[in-house]
Amino acid sequence: MSQISQITKPFQPGGSVPLTRKRESLWQDGLRRLVKNRAAVIGFTIIILLILMAIIAPLIAIKRFDAQVLNDQNKVPTWVTKVFPTMKPYAKISTVYPLGADYVGRDLFSRIVYGARVSLSVAFIGPLISLIIGVIYGSISGYFGGRVDNIMMRVVDVLYAFPSLLFIILLLAFFRSSLSHLTPGSPAYILSKMDESLGGMLFIFVGIGLTAWETMARLTRGQVLSLREKEFIEAAHTIGATNIRIMFRHILPNILGPLVVAETLAIPGYISTEAFLSFIGLGVNPPTPSWGAMISEGANSLRSYPNQAIFPALALAITMFAFNFLGDGLRDALDPRLRGTQ
């Protein structure tokens, strides 16, 4: 506000009020506004802490995520029975596990810590894949226009009508059960080995990427279409810039803001998609800990051991909170016209 009033102050000859303010790029301007938004800063801090937790998981976790002690099945510390009083009559007490142990005697806390790796990977790689595919597709469609645009957008329309979660489920079922029938050395075999080493996350990325790029493509196309007619693009054409150069140097930097905002707002959706897939058993491979899979396992014994489902559920909720806060703040900062919408 102070800057605006500075600019709009009436011009006084000989006055000492400077008429210009410090030059700021869109990003600097956005950053300044973002830092002022308390909710966004909190969200950002939580995300940084979660990333740290995911990276140094082996140092924080008390045990390995797959270490089972069959004698300690469903054991809980005393404070958990106080939070969940229904557990009291039959809870087996053990102080080893800060949040309790699960149905095969694995430490819940350690699994939740490791589980951040899955959710955060999806939160960052999901948008990356959909951004890459969507931006390339959308900018080709928007830049060349005409018939190319028409055909490419019809394809997106059909895919858009496809119930995407159902498509991911089918796709994952296909990937998962094709694994055991591969000949070593084939590209599919290499892919499946990569998936295995990532604990089953690769195919989740592929599934989300293959269904989420359409929104990005539409957004990019719209932005490119409106920019294409601007004078500075025409100017670039007249001095002989190539299509590729115009695309990367003149158009893309100008549409990055809305794209980043849209992707950040989409992140909670990706996180809950992964949780949903793991919940129905098509997500990560056991014993890789995913919050969705842990909730699903815990939901089976909600009556007797509610901690096994509710703690990972809280972890998931906090993460989604943080991303929602950051996404909201980012949108307000980079595109003030949209403030308060959606």
Partner: protein
């Protein structure tokens, strides 16, 4: 408008055909068949089963047979039999002639049931749950958004928007277990699992009695599922209402002395509903897929279970049936949303 609807309907058919082809191709590409077992069936048995269900036919023929059985109405003089492969969803008798339509085939896994049985017995439960969740979303979301907009920058605004960001961040898979434990197990307000209606249904999909016996099962899952959507509705309502009340025609209405209530209900609300209606389409899609998880958590005997198990069981007719059903539902929902959109905003003309 008429031409637009016809064009959209044709377009819908194309989409559904593409969905069915991709689904058919993908599910047959998954290794293993409906009758593969850990302990393999005797070759002779397998041969008979494959012949019985035409699984040895070339894929294109199986697909065309399927489309033929589902799409083309059969006109016969023979009355419907109890055979599992002769179960049509629509049977109309005109004189001595039967018109029979939409045979989705038998389930390979539950040997005594057909896909149509699942549609008749389990689908209504999912539909009831989805409808109630949508109702919850609207009942909570609209007032919250209106209140926040009318009392902008007051405690009501912050409270409403705080609640709604909470709602967006807790999907049903988070809220479900918490509800079951808190209200079901600890407080005993509601039964933690189950559903209060079973077939036969009134008009094919409504529960035959509506009382506490029904709602005590329905309230928890409907709220858990609808809360996320109510948050989205609240935020959107607030944003558009804030924009609308700054329009010139609202100032005009104030100037000619209309009461504030009339201004909001008659002038501002109708115009701020337009963006809200447009997100109902994607929202329905989210609610439909949300019913799977909700049913699993709350132990509700709806269709969600079949959706997941049919894929792991390679129960081809059930996979096709469930996916097509949801695809058709979503496409129709989107069409209805677009038509309502045009009704609310006369400036929009589809031609």
């Amino acid at each position: 408008m008429g031409r637009y609807i016809i064009r959209r309907l044709l377009y819908m058919v194309v989409v559904i055909l593409v969905v069915s082809i991709i689904t058919f191709g993908l599910m047959h590409a998954i290794p293993g068949g409906p009758f593969s077992r850990e302990k393999a069936l005797p070759a002779a048995t397998l041969k008979v089963l494959n012949e019985r269900y035409h699984l040895d036919d070339p894929l294109w023929k199986q697909y065309l047979d399927y489309v033929y059985n589902v799409l083309v109405p059969h006109i016969t003089t023979k009355a419907p039999t109890t055979s599992l492969s002769d179960d049509c969803l629509i049977n109309v008798k005109i004189g001595s002639v039967w018109i029979r339509w939409m045979n989705f085939g038998p389930s390979f896994k539950s040997r005594s049931r057909t896909v149509n049985d699942i549609f008749r017995d389990n689908l209504p439960i999912s539909a009831q749950l989805g409808t109630m969740a949508l109702t919850v979303a609207l009942i909570i979301g609209l007032p919250l958004g209106i209140l926040a907009a009318l009392k902008q920058n007051t405690i009501w605004d912050y409270l409403g928007m705080g609640i709604s960001i909470l709602g967006v961040s807790v999907p049903v898979i988070v809220l479900g277990p918490i509800f079951v434990w808190l209200f079901g197990v600890a407080l005993h307000w509601f039964p933690p699992t189950g559903w209060g209606a079973k077939p036969p249904y009134f008009l094919g999909f409504l529960p035959t009695h509506l009382g506490w016996d029904y709602f005590k099962f329905a309230i928890m899952p409907a709220v858990a599922l609808g809360l996320g959507s109510s948050a989205i509705i609240a935020r959107l309502t607030r944003a558009t209402l804030l924009q609308t009340v700054r329009e010139d025609y609202i100032r005009t209405a104030r100037a000619k002395g209309l009461s504030e209530r009339v201004i909001i209900t008659r002038h501002a609300m109708k115009n701020s509903m337009i963006p809200v209606v447009t997100i109902l389409g994607p929202m329905l899609a989210a609610l439909v897929t949300g019913t799977f998880v909700t049913e699993l958590i709350f132990g509700i005997p709806g269709m969600g279970k079949y959706f997941v198990t049919s894929i792991t069981n390679r129960d081809y007719p059930v996979i096709m049936g469930t996916i097509l059903l949801y695809a058709v539902f979503l496409v129709i929902a989107n069409l209805v949303v677009d038509i309502v959109y045009a009704y609310l905003d006369p400036r929009i003309r589809y031609d």
